[in-house]
């Protein structure tokens, strides 16, 4: 493996980049980029190599930062990244998803924007916020945010988004109309008879299985779920996990049955690794069973938290896995999660980690 691997690390104090040497070893850190603005999510378009970093600054509002030269230089834009005059201001960008020439951005307060000119100009996908459920969406711990955007591998008309707390919504007509896709996911904080509502659940992460666009995985505030019908219905797959609570869910890019999680001990008792022993949990059978992957991760006094967008894969073989913590640590595995190595420390609180291979 000769191509270098880059990690895009969105933090509360700017974007950082880690670049590996050959063999995914010898990582070098660069940053902070984006004027040290809080960056909630950064991605690279695999077709062009352009890097996009989304965030917001309390003084100057939301922005998508753009680099076409591997992070050497940056521009920024928020043209059109706003609701209508008189509506509440957009505070920050929370998720980005490039897809065949389009770029989607999820924002706080929850809404979706689309750019057809590589992030220079944006237009509001207004049918989502026009959904009748919108007045009942409530802010979660991170705010009322649209934090995951899942595109279809071949059908531009299909799109799924995750809103905390509103739940999962999907469109099959390119964003002209939306419907909630939450049947079977639980809200433990509702009265018993209302624990499975049509919307309002607190989804934390949404991932599509490799080679099977009908299969989605969801880490929720209240449970872990799989859908085999594009989110129309969900079944619990949390049995065997140490906790029903966590943030990231990362699908293997070549195996529809393999998924990685970082469960936390619960929402009310610290939100750190159970027993303060860090582990990525893996299923290789679609969630029927789970195994912890601990080798190289700290197993004592590890009060670590990994947020919803802060774990990812690099698509290579064997698969590289990466996670970043709110305490500024970055761990890498180049053997499909079997062993882990700390490759950065002392970073600001990490919101997101994404990988790209072969930049430059």
């Amino acid at each position: 493996m000769d191509a270098s691997t880059h990690l895009l690390i969105g933090t509360k104090k700017g974007l950082f980049m880690l670049e590996s040497g050959p063999g995914r070893e010898g990582w070098c850190l660069a940053g902070p980029f984006c004027e040290a603005w809080p960056i909630n999510h950064a991605v690279a378009d695999p077709e062009t190599g352009t890097i996009y970093a989304g965030g917001g600054n309390e003084w100057f509002g939301p922005a998508v930062w753009i680099s076409k030269d591997g992070g050497e230089s940056w521009t920024h834009s928020s043209a059109g990244l706003a609701y209508g005059e008189g509506d509440e201001p957009v505070r920050s960008v929370w998720s980005l998803a490039p897809s065949r020439g389009r770029l989607y951005a999820g924002v706080e307060p929850a809404g979706l924007f689309r750019s057809d000119d590589v992030g220079l100009n944006w237009r509001h996908v207004d049918a989502l916020r026009a959904h009748p459920s919108r007045p009942e969406w409530q802010p979660g711990g991170g705010g009322l945010i649209l934090h995951h955007i899942v595109t279809h591998p071949s059908d531009d008309a299909k799109l799924w988004v995750a809103i905390s707390t509103g739940g999962v919504f999907a469109t099959t007509d390119g964003g002209a109309s939306w419907e909630p896709r939450n049947q079977g996911t639980r809200n433990d904080y509702a009265p018993e008879e209302h624990r499975y509502p049509a919307y309002g659940q607190c989804v934390h992460s949404l991932a599509m299985a490799a080679g099977n666009p009908d299969r989605l995985y969801q880490q929720n505030h209240c449970g872990m779920y799989r859908s085999d019908d594009s989110g129309l219905s969900w079944a619990s797959i949390e049995e065997g996990l140490p906790s029903s609570f966590g943030f990231p869910a990362v699908a293997h890019p070549r195996d529809a049955d393999t998924l990685y999680l970082f469960p936390l001990n619960g929402d009310a008792i610290g939100r750190f690794a159970p027993e303060a022993r860090a582990a990525v949990w893996q299923t290789t059978d679609g969630g029927r069973s789970w195994q912890p992957l601990r080798s190289g991760l700290p197993q004592e006094n590890a009060y670590l938290t990994v947020l919803r967008q802060a774990m990812t894969t690099d698509g290579q073989a064997p698969l590289g896995l990466y996670l970043g913590t709110t305490s500024g640590l970055v761990y890498a595995s180049t053997d499909e999660g079997q062993t882990w190595t700390r490759i950065a420390e002392h970073l600001p609180a990490i919101n997101s980690v994404e990988a790209l291979v072969g930049l430059h």
Partner: protein, 101 residues
């Protein structure tokens, strides 16, 4: 937040509006100076004129409420202003990020 330029704008000899921009803002717009003179009748017009010269600058200073952003202060001749504040000939406008944290 980078340090701001605390230079108080000096009213121009003409009727032009003298504007001081903070460093944290000009850092986002290559070529934007710390001080500029321009013509505008209100603060809102001033922001529009800034945006004409540096596309995107208006959105950094006002939101869709519409108001000057919550953590931005605009002073006209030493008094805190709103978007509707009128600019008398030769006014000195100071744009500052608010203190936070």
């Amino acid at each position: 937040m980078a340090c701001i330029d605390l230079l108080v704008p000096t009213p121009g000899r003409s009727d032009m509006i003298s504007v001081a921009l903070p460093e944290a803002l000009t850092a986002l717009f290559p070529g934007a100076p710390a001080r500029i003179e321009l013509d505008a009748a209100t603060v809102d017009e001033l922001l529009t004129e800034l945006d004409r010269r540096w596309p995107g600058m208006r959105d950094r200073l006002r939101d869709t409420t519409p108001k000057i952003r919550k953590h931005i202060n605009v002073f006209v001749d030493g008094r805190r202003a709103t978007l509707a504040t009128e600019l008398p000939p030769g006014a000195a406008v100071l744009i500052l990020p608010a203190m936070r944290g």
